[in-house]
Symmetry: C2
Subunit: 94 residues, 2 copies
């Protein structure tokens, strides 16, 4: 499901105009990004939380040539599912 399909589905379910749904979704995305860039955790009820984590620099060794390369540190967004979501997922028979 892409962005456009999500907007259509949300408009249908909430009875709100698509433009409003889109504006709100964009604002949510912007605020969450701002918070992440400031290094803050954002929690979304019964869904999960987002947090920026630093991956430390590391030495990578090419398996064939044995050439070593230093991979610089980088920031990644980490998502942690809520317990509610976790339980729902694991009701599914594997």
């Amino acid at each position: 499901m892409n962005h456009k399909e999500l907007i259509s589905k949300l408009a249908l379910r909430t009875n709100l105009p698509k433009t409003e749904v889109e504006a709100l979704l964009d604002a949510t995305s912007i605020i969450v990004k701002e918070q992440l860039l400031e290094g803050k955790i954002i929690g979304i009820q019964s869904f999960g939380s987002f947090e920026v984590r630093k991956k430390e620099e590391r030495l990578s060794v090419h398996p064939a040539t044995q050439i070593r390369t230093l991979i610089p540190p980088k920031l990644v967004v980490n998502f942690k599912q809520s317990n509610i979501l976790k339980d729902k997922l694991n009701e599914i028979k594997l």
Copy 2:
């Protein structure tokens, strides 16, 4: 930033009533969860995508007692940040 603070900030920025913001945020969370439970990927523009991944069962060995335990397979929600978000994050000097 928790759920309540996010709703306040969104209401302020979009000039929409808090009730409407909350209804829409809840609907988003429900739709995303529904899609995930059906095993579908959901993409949110310029932010990232969510997907359910299966973690295979594995044998865990207790370091002190050497007792082996079979950890059953489980489903976890995986978030992959978009390239836009990745680039923004890595503009930050580490």
